[in-house]
């Protein structure tokens, strides 16, 4: 019995622009929002969209990611017919051991996984975007248009457009041209790196692309241009709402701050039915001491707060000593801020101890990253 749709999450990249934060974990496993890891967002979106087979393609520091994804239990993907499968680069019979060479190559190397489910459609996702999206609606649009490929796009400002891959479309939403980071953008529809392919087309193009030694084996650079050239039916699907590629320390910080200001990403599920699932941490309750002051912040279970916290996001088991000041900062799990220490506009990596005499980034112009892995 074939599946209608299978999702493949590209989670192999290191994300070097996140510097020390990805020294020991893959980017999709980076902490976000006081409680989550980035990959919780595409995985929860899959679960909430009713997609029940999800492949997670890994290569860089995949152990934590692999055990984190486990069998998909955290997202409810552990029924008899549902699954989150870790797909590492590996040695294959008749091929040998090969690493993933590009986004398209990674999917190509897992054609036998896809064939096993014989899906009509394949959803390609990135493991490092923060957003809530109903892929079922995108699939409905794909089916309605009879498309070979549907690309989710976001209407960005003209200024930003030259940082993105831009889809130039006709009035009916069909794509006639794709420009990677155009200097003079003709449109403002930026690709979100979210693709729904009709699988038999995808399969054909992946096999063709794999034969081409000059190809970068990349969806944006190779597969989409090939399909446009062949006059395949490519459509843009416009998404509106919060979406963020947290590619840099600055953008990761900003995305955390966005949560404090009620941007469109609603973790509190006011619109119901779209919870972001994550791991359950075994921690004591959040304890707020007698001398504490907390404003305009997210604080999660396991924290002990005795000092002043403002405009900040505190992850699991963070400890803030008396008289300490934490302003506009993101404190990853297990950070210990000793009495009287001060931190401004910083991301503090997992487990770091801030000494009582430390004053971090008082100027607070740029975001400062504090890590033991620096």
């Amino acid at each position: 019995m074939g599946k209608e749709i299978v999702a493949m999450i590209l989670a192999g990249g290191r994300g070097t622009r996140l510097e020390a934060l990805t020294a020991k974990v893959a980017k999709p496993a980076v902490h976000f929002g006081g409680k989550y890891r980035i990959i919780d967002f595409p995985l929860s979106n899959c679960a909430n969209s009713g997609i029940d087979v999800v492949g997670v393609l890994t290569q860089y520091e995949s152990v934590l990611l692999g055990t984190y994804v486990g069998a998909g239990t955290k997202w409810g993907l552990d029924g008899n017919n549902s699954l989150a499968a870790i797909l590492p680069a590996r040695e294959r019979g008749g091929v040998g051991a090969t690493w993933y060479a590009g986004t398209a190559d990674a999917i190509y190397q897992n054609i036998s996984f896809l064939d096993q489910y014989d899906p009509e459609y394949v959803l390609i996702l990135s493991g490092d975007h923060i957003y809530k999206m109903d892929y079922a609606e995108m699939l409905a649009a794909h089916k309605e248009k009879g498309a070979d490929l549907t690309v989710a796009v976001l209407n960005v400002s003209l200024k930003e457009a030259s940082r993105f891959g831009i889809m130039n479309t006709n009035k009916d939403g069909s794509i006639y041209e794709f420009e990677e980071k155009p200097e003079k953008p003709k449109s403002t529809l930026a690709s979100m790196g979210i693709y729904i392919f009709t699988y038999k087309e995808l399969r054909k193009y992946l096999i063709e692309d794999a034969k081409d030694d000059n190809s970068k084996h990349d969806f944006g650079m190779n597969i989409i241009p090939m399909m446009l050239e062949d006059k395949k039916k490519l459509y843009a699907y416009e998404f509106s709402g919060y979406w963020k590629d947290v590619g840099t320390v600055e953008s990761l910080w900003q995305a955390n701050m966005d949560l404090l200001d009620d941007k469109e990403l609603d973790l509190y599920n006011v619109k119901k039915d779209w919870k972001i699932y994550t791991e359950d941490t075994l921690s004591k309750p959040q304890i707020i001491g007698e001398e504490a002051s907390i404003k305009h912040s997210l604080v999660t279970q396991g924290c002990i707060v005795n000092g002043d916290v403002e405009g900040s996001v505190l992850f699991n088991n963070v400890y803030i000593g008396e008289g300490a000041k934490v302003v506009d900062s993101v404190l990853m799990p297990g950070v210990l801020v000793e009495e009287g220490a001060e931190i401004y506009k910083a991301i503090v990596d997992e487990g770091v101890v801030i000494k009582s005499t430390d004053v971090i980034n008082k100027e607070a112009k740029e975001v400062e990253l504090v890590s033991d892995n620096a």
Binding site: Y268, K284, P285, Q286, I288, I294, L298, V299
Partner: protein, 368 residues
Amino acid sequence: MAKVVGYINLHSDVSYKGLTEKRPVASVSFLGRYGIIDFVLSNMSNSNVDTVGILIKEKPRSLFKHLGNGNSWNFNSKSGGVSLLYNEKYANSSMYNHDINNIVENIAFLEKSKADYVVIAPAHIITTMNYADVVDAHAKSGAEITMVYQKIDNADETFVGSDFLRLKGKQVMEIKNNKGNRKERNISLETYVINKKTLLKLISYAQKISSFFNLRDTLAYLCDERKIMAYEYKGFARCIDSYEAYYKVSMEFLDMDVSTQVFKSTWPIFTNTNDTPPTKYLKNAIVKKSFVANGAIIDGEVDGCILSRNVTIGKNAVVKNCIILNGSKVCAGAHLENVVIDKDARVEKKTELIGEGEPLYVKEGDVV
């Protein structure tokens, strides 16, 4: 440790007024994040007792939900696990609805176990007891029955109505009811280690004496003719045997000296996950000396409180010395002191509620 099977004994007369009207004591919310039963279950798990039967007295529904498949308590789902033992037959006849009848009705659980020893513990006495230590001492003593007690010096205030033990050396001579007329007592923590074979004999013996006899009665009846060993437990113990005790013990935890005795990294307290986001503090939040569970949104003043999951405190509301359970909402400008608010209730704007003496109780789903 020798092979041990556990029973969590929910057969008791303890109730917490409105809080236990629709749910058993075991699943009453505690410290914002837990159910009362999580502590004894975690003790079982941390003591490597991986097969646990829960002797359910009544209102099984919320327990099914809370316990799920037992994964949250770290029981290997193949070799052990949690079994819900419910005595449907006697559910509505209070005289017969006791622990021994429940064990008998569900005797297959005990019979198929390959354990040598049985640990029996209640849910409403909160401890961090390592049952492995008790079993070791029990095994070494050669006794067939061991009772765990704690020496306390405020028996006139706590554990009133519980049993105390009269000891001779390490042997239990008599089991009597603590009427609160003395400060110093060796209080029974209602935690027993019994050889499996002895327990099987005991229950058939108890049924012969009287079909009203529960386990405690049987032990009290037998202690002059059988050797029952006493094991002194010196760790943390609190008896939550009334609505007042529930409130008092909860508030006690806000003292870090108390809570650090229980929350230790070597002795995790397990509970089930609820997929709630972190607590959100808004610009007008002033929070002190409180436990806050995830999912709360706070824009008012909170002092000396325990807030459960998904509680909302509106702008400039003032909440002092309160326990607020899951999903309840305190609207802007309300003023609460000394109140326990059950789940999904709503305190309207600018309402003032102040409990005098005993804390006020607001029912589940009420709008006040």
